[in-house]
């Protein structure tokens, strides 16, 4: 019996490490003969775009290079499956492909939208009585999947953000005139990435001075008060804001000046929260102010991955294969944090309990004023960004596995 693996949703710096984990374990498995990869997720699969990963990754060198290559090596898609009661045709096509390639194991690495695919495929095989193992593997820099302590990809993104904020705060500290720097971070619904901006100030006294997460309603009046108070204490103020901060009515901050474009899942497309707040500070305070969007480098700065994140990402990929070998189906592999000193073990959960849900930053991780995180939050994030991977450089740039094999 063969297996197939795919990657879905937005890429991260660690999603290829998880792919490597799947490959490593599938090659060891006595139940799996060949491991195929679907190019561009189920969208490519439906078009028959399949590669033989057992053949392509038969050496340690390419696997370890894969583990520090950013982006999704197999390509990605944002396709959602329809409900099979409403439209079974696509399921029939998928299973005729599985039959053709003698595939009995299906692994899908992705976020909460991708777990919807696992849920639906799981329900389908259960309903039809097909012996087919469908396992999801978590991935998202947003860290917003429920039922797992954290998600592979988050630690590396958080390490990049903490580092960038530390460097930006150094940079901004050189002039004596009053100045505000507003840094916008990813996170439409959950503030996990923005929360990681708190680390440099906590450990080194220089970093983001004010931090706003989407979990708390954002008040422009309070914001200006906080900035003014901070400017009384120090000439340079660094503010970190999540792209998804909303006012008390649930409207994105500055939404009226934004476009309203939607992505394939009907999510509102957001740009320019920091840019809007820059105008607000200029208007209300009148000091020097600038905005910085860390943007794509948050999810692809593989040159500064967290070793903890990469090692766990490999391990959870391998664990997903073990789950399938144990006969599980319709499940997502999860990471469980051990008590005491930091360490993890793996478990699993029904994909239906994860799909389309969002894990928010809990209330006790946010301070009373809603403008910073608490020490509990710092303690949660810190171990996830620890450790560095040795990166090979050639021609002055990091070496990556060639994407699109």
């Amino acid at each position: 019996m063969n297996a197939i693996v795919g990657q879905s949703g937005g890429p991260t710096s660690a999603i290829n490490a998880t792919l490597s984990g799947v490959i490593r374990q599938a090659c060891k498995s006595e139940k799996i003969d060949k491991l195929y990869g679907m190019k561009n997720g189920i969208e490519g699969l439906l078009m028959g775009n399949i590669v033989d990963l057992s053949y392509l990754f038969n050496d340690e060198k390419s696997l370890s290079l894969l583990e520090t290559t950013p982006s999704s090596a197999l390509g990605s898609c944002r396709k959602k499956l329809p409900d099979f009661n409403a439209d079974e045709e696509i399921y029939r096509r998928l299973f005729s492909i599985f039959k053709k390639y003698d595939i009995g194991y299906f692994f899908y690495i992705g976020g909460n939208d991708s777990m919807d695919t696992i849920k639906k495929l799981g329900e389908y095989v259960r309903n039809k009585g097909i012996d087919f193992k469908v396992i999801g593997v978590p991935k998202t820099i947003d860290n917003d999947l429920v039922e797992t302590d954290h998600t592979p990809g988050y630690g590396s993104a958080a390490k990049f953000i903490a580092t960038a904020i530390k460097e930006i705060a150094c940079d901004c500290s050189v002039y004596t005139i009053k100045a505000v720097t507003i840094v916008e971070l990813m996170g439409r619904d959950a503030g996990w990435l923005t929360a990681s901006s708190a680390l440099p100030k906590y450990y080194y006294g220089l970093g983001a001075d004010l931090i706003y997460l989407p979990e708390r309603p954002f008040s422009q009046v309070e914001f200006i008060k906080h900035v003014k108070a901070m400017l009384e204490k120090q000439p340079n103020v660094v503010v970190a804001v999540s792209e998804g901060i909303k006012d008390a009515n649930g409207e994105y901050v500055g939404a009226s000046s934004q476009s309203g474009v939607q992505d394939a899942f009907g999510h509102k497309y957001l740009a320019g929260t920091a840019k809007y707040l820059e105008s607000l500070v200029r208007h209300e305070i009148g000091c020097k102010v600038r905005s910085v969007e860390l943007n794509l480098p948050q999810r692809c700065s593989a040159h500064i991955v967290s070793a903890t994140d990469i090692d766990e990402s490999v391990a959870v990929g391998a664990y997903a294969v073990k789950l399938a070998e144990m006969g599980e189906t319709g499940k997502m592999a999860t990471i469980v944090r051990k008590d005491g000193e930091y360490g993890v073990e793996f478990s699993c959960i029904d994909a239906k309990d994860v799909a389309n849900k969002v894990k928010y930053v809990p209330a006790n991780y946010i301070n009373e004023d809603g403008n910073n995180v608490t020490e509990e939050c710092i303690r949660y994030i810190t171990p996830l960004i620890l450790g560095e991977k040795s990166i090979s450089y050639e021609n002055g740039m990091p070496v990556h596995l060639k994407i699109g094999f």
Copy 2:
């Protein structure tokens, strides 16, 4: 006799390496007793903000940590001196401070505005017959100083840009739908930083597909033609543009079509160059398009400095002290590239030949269509980004020297 050193203008990832070079050589010098540092350049100096660097940096550990700490450790300013014929008062104040501290050597690390300070101080001491050595040390990520092969700080910024573009191009390659990603890079007048975005595609076949520098007039019509032609060849197109691209009339791109645009507060609003081109592509081509501004991390990403740049930055700082010891004054230290295999030696030039001038990317470094750089340009940039420095991490973040001692 004592010496004093200051940093001026925008910070870089290498300006502290140059400061370290000055400290190292001053400590060895038989002519210099004590090395002072002026905080916030001549602005702080005029207020008497002086620290004793010989005392603060008397160990190898703090010097080598200084060399990979971003930002200007001494703080910075943007103050320009008046012409001494028009206003001598400020010069009298400066020289009374120099007398008080028995200072006979003055080192100033900065860009072309800072070299204006060297020029004016040099003219003043020559005119007044004061025995005082004034030496400038080049610094700018923009690489736009004339009479030096390149500037300390450029190599590290170029290495960060080449790496970020490589990672972004990986990230953008995962979907099959047509998409354009426009990355805006620093450089208001000169396109050196933007040119460095060419390296990943040249060496690895994946990177910036179209590159626009301010040295060539930018035509929106031609730009859309180039993007459309590139989209015919490949689904994902990455464009790198300098923030300073201008149309044939010398107007910043998008400036005229945005002249009436106001932000939410009725202030004149100027979107970034990439943001404007994003709208243009959406309007003219209608495909998926996004813009990314690499922003401040270009000048402060010290975690990925170029070892070549840092080593040269230290060496040129040391050479500036040697110039003063040899009796030079009113000069800027320069970097001279040797013929054949890459290597540098140091020389100097009158500050008046550098001050307020701009070194542009030469015509033979830009291709005929004005949408990429030539191989000659690649050969010029490549050695400057080579080599990595070992960075210490603690709590998952790079360790820096505490700024503001």
